[in-house]
């Protein structure tokens, strides 16, 4: 990225390329004078910060593998942001620069995307991310109480933990980030919460407290539906499309609620109408 000086064009437009009264003024000096901040500070705001990207050396091949999935490289951006999250546990400025470099985009283009989606965390996340559904239906069934209880339980006395705040040191074993989530599409199993996007169904404040206490002790209680619990960084890698344990696929999913209708039909002997033996396709006139 370059910064435009006096009289230069902006974004390829010719508007303003003609000399104007402003072009006689040295913009940078004026900015420094106009600011209440010391010059070193204002310099920091306009200067390009080049991060050390060596932390991502190990994922360059994976980044290229993601790009290869798509007809156009930019489509790889969402999975690639999940990928950088699998390294650092959040999307750092370095992570943004890494994606920009691999996809030949401007940092700002990547930044604009990273800040739009709630699953990209802009602060280091705990070992585990606990998401409590507080949308209307779950809330009516107790989701609000669960979230309030966890905030109190994981916070300091008199200072409950806030949305996207972490109990413990981010990244350290046993650290937990909590958030209130929008509808998690498990309404028949509400109130629900997720740990690292694995489902813990039919929760109560007591069960949720037990769950986070176990997580803090380094245990990994099995989810109701999903694979054996790993951690936030590991699931970020999976969201980028890299699955390292085939057995994860067989993690449970057949909840009573999910099967309620199928089970009822089976018990009562109800079925869909029988399909005919063979069906002819409609004949169409040749054009």
């Amino acid at each position: 990225m370059t910064t435009s000086g006096p009289g230069q064009t902006y974004g390829g437009s010719t508007v303003g390329s003609e000399p104007t009264h402003q072009s006689t003024v040295d913009d940078s000096r004026e900015a420094a004078v106009a600011s209440v901040l010391p010059e070193a500070q204002t310099q920091k705001l306009v200067a390009e910060v080049v991060e050390d990207l060596s932390v991502f050396d190990g994922i360059v091949e994976r980044a290229q593998a993601i790009i290869a999935r798509y007809p156009q490289s930019r489509s790889a951006l969402l999975p690639m942001l999940h990928l950088v999250q699998s390294v650092q546990g959040y999307v750092s400025h370095a992570g943004i620069q890494f994606c920009a470099r691999e996809l030949k985009l401007a940092d700002a283009e990547v930044s604009a995307v990273a800040t739009f989606y709630t699953m990209y965390k802009r602060k280091p996340c705990g070992e585990h991310l606990v998401s409590v559904c507080t949308n209307t239906l779950c809330a009516a069934l107790g989701g609000d109480d669960i979230y309030a209880k966890l905030r109190d339980h994981l916070g300091e006395p008199g200072k409950p933990l806030g949305h996207e705040e972490t109990a413990g040191t981010p990244g350290e074993p046993g650290s937990i980030t909590i958030e209130h989530a929008e509808c998690l599409a498990a309404c028949d199993l509400g109130p629900v919460l997720q740990v690292n996007y694995e489902f813990y169904d039919n929760q109560t404040p007591e069960k949720a407290v037990e769950l986070v206490d176990a997580l803090r002790r380094g245990e990994k209680p099995a989810p109701t539906r999903g694979a054996p619990l790993s951690d936030f960084k590991d699931v970020s890698l999976q969201l980028a499309g890299f699955f390292e344990r085939e057995s994860d696929v067989d993690g449970p999913s057949q909840a009573t609620e999910t099967l309620a209708g199928a089970q009822l039909a089976s018990d009562r002997g109800w079925t869909a109408p029988t399909m005919p033996e063979s069906v002819a396709f409609p004949e169409l006139e040749k054009k």
């Binding site: 007809p71 156009q72 489509s75 969402l78 999975p79 999940h82 604009a112 995307v113 739009f116 989606y117 709630t118 699953m119 507080t134 949308n135 209307t136 239906l137 009516a140 989530a181 929008e182 509808c183 998690l184 599409a185 498990a186 309404c187 028949d188 509400g190 690292n196 694995e198 489902f199 539906r225 694979a227 999976q238 969201l239 980028a240 499309g241 699955f243 994860d248 696929v249 067989d250 993690g251 999913s253 057949q254 609620e257 999910t258 309620a260 209708g261 199928a262 089970q263 009822l264 039909a265 009562r268 109800w270 109408p273 399909m275 005919p276 069906v279 396709f281 409609p282 004949e283 169409l284």
Partner: protein
């Protein structure tokens, strides 16, 4: 019409089987038989069967699927794309995620058939990021289908090439809107596009694209195998077929019930064991929070596209959220409005500003600081959001408010009591 059983497992028929998500189970239970039949006829014939079946989009809008497919250009000047909308997130909606977990191969088979019908060779399944277990199972299903020769080049010697890419989203309700989904899939912020051009003319990478819901596409293999007449044995004339009704909330047995379109809440409640602990019903949504709420008056409304619309709501995603008498309507409306405010993408002013102010008024009212004028202000803001927003999110956002006030105005008025008393002028002593 001959009588059809109250529950008709079609999409859900394999869900009770052990490892229903594996290709072995799928193949044992007629899996991948439809795709062989479809690839043996012309793409136009496949489109015609789907048109004849009357299948309508299961993502909420109910657009006829065969007609949508026929909008794709017959030539292949540009690549064609099929994109599956698996970004399930409408409050109350929870049908696609169990479907993809329990039977991912039915979606994969549907994708192959639909791609063939629309001359697409690359299909994308855009799955909500939070649905990690579905993403795992879909990835595995794609790998299994590839190994078995259902995906790849020259499938069954038909000359047809097809590739499927599973793509994880990153947490944005707006990406369920089809053009926002396409922008997101292109690696951008998920913001809706101006239509026209419609995706069939300029969709993904400005190439012809069809976006279909999971349940819609998963229905296709059954239509190919059973034929359009069989499909029409279930449901109604204009809304044929079975549909997964997701019943949640204050009922004894919440869950997924696949029943013919046109089933009523009274029937669904019977299946779900009635109201929880016998506490009476107060209000419910027929198809997610964006569909205007119903009350006890609507127990016998036929839940198909026509029936729900005639009663003043929409069928939506058949996400039946049931609330009993203990739940305050203004509170529920406030919670939903907080959701829409959070998820408004910010592109257009009516939705961005409207939801921002609506939340504040509702929060103030629920806190007991409302005035009667607040109700008028709410409705006035709603009028300036509905039909004036860039996409349907704005319309959805005002549904709970307008319908809540329509049926439960007394509850909103009750929230104004404190201010009414405060502002009451004390009667002058001896003035009468």
């Amino acid at each position: 019409m001959t009588t059809v059983d109250p529950v008709t497992p079609v999409l859900t028929k394999r869900w009770l089987s052990p490892r229903s998500w594996s290709i072995q189970t799928y193949e044992q239970l007629e899996g991948y038989t439809a795709v062989r039949k479809a690839l043996a006829v012309t793409p136009e014939q496949v489109v015609q069967v789907v048109k004849d079946s009357g299948l309508r989009g299961r993502g909420g809008a109910g657009f006829p699927s065969g007609l949508k497919w026929s909008f794709m250009p017959p030539n292949e000047d540009k690549p064609h794309y099929l994109v599956i909308n698996a970004d399930e997130g409408e409050p109350g909606t929870c049908k696609d995620i169990p479907l993809m977990m329990a039977d991912p191969h039915s979606l994969i088979e549907g994708c192959i058939i639909a791609s063939y019908a629309m001359r697409s060779h690359h299909c994308f399944i855009y799955v909500r990021g939070e649905a990690l277990h579905c993403i795992r199972r879909l990835n595995q299903a794609v790998a299994e289908a590839k190994a078995a020769g259902y995906l790849g080049t020259n499938v069954f010697g038909s000359g047809f090439d097809i590739e499927i890419t599973v793509h994880a989203g990153a947490g944005a309700y707006i990406c369920g809107e089809e053009t926002a989904l396409l922008d997101s899939l292109e690696g951008r912020r998920g913001q809706p596009r101006l239509k026209p051009p419609f995706p069939a003319a300029a969709g993904l990478y400005a190439a012809p694209t069809t976006v279909n819901n999971v349940e819609t596409i998963a229905s296709v293999p059954y239509i190919i195998n059973g034929g359009s007449d069989w499909f029409r044995k279930m449901g109604t004339e204009k809304s044929p077929g079975p549909k997964i009704y997701s019943i949640s909330g204050h009922v004894e047995k919440p869950g997924q019930y696949e029943a013919p379109l046109g089933t009523t809440l009274r029937q669904l409640l019977e299946m779900a064991g009635g109201m929880k602990d016998g506490i009476p019903l107060k209000f419910w949504t027929p198809g997610g929070s964006s569909t205007p709420m119903f009350t006890t008056e609507h127990l016998d409304v036929a839940l198909d596209f026509e029936g729900a619309a005639a009663a003043g709501s929409m069928l939506g995603t058949t996400a039946v959220q049931v609330f009993n008498e203990t739940v305050s309507v203004p509170w529920a409306v406030m919670k939903w409005t907080q959701f829409y405010k959070h998820e408004s993408c910010g592109k257009c002013t009516p939705c961005r500003e409207g939801t921002y102010w609506l939340v504040q008024i509702l929060e103030r009212m629920v806190a007991g600081n409302g005035t009667e004028e607040d109700i008028d202000t709410l409705l006035d803001v709603c009028d300036n959001v509905i039909g004036r927003s860039f996409c349907a999110l704005g319309d959805g956002a005002v549904s709970p408010i307008q319908s809540g006030i329509k049926y439960f105005r007394d509850e909103f008025l009750a929230l104004c009591q404190r201010n009414r008393e405060k502002n009451r002028k004390p009667a002058l002593a001896g003035a009468n």
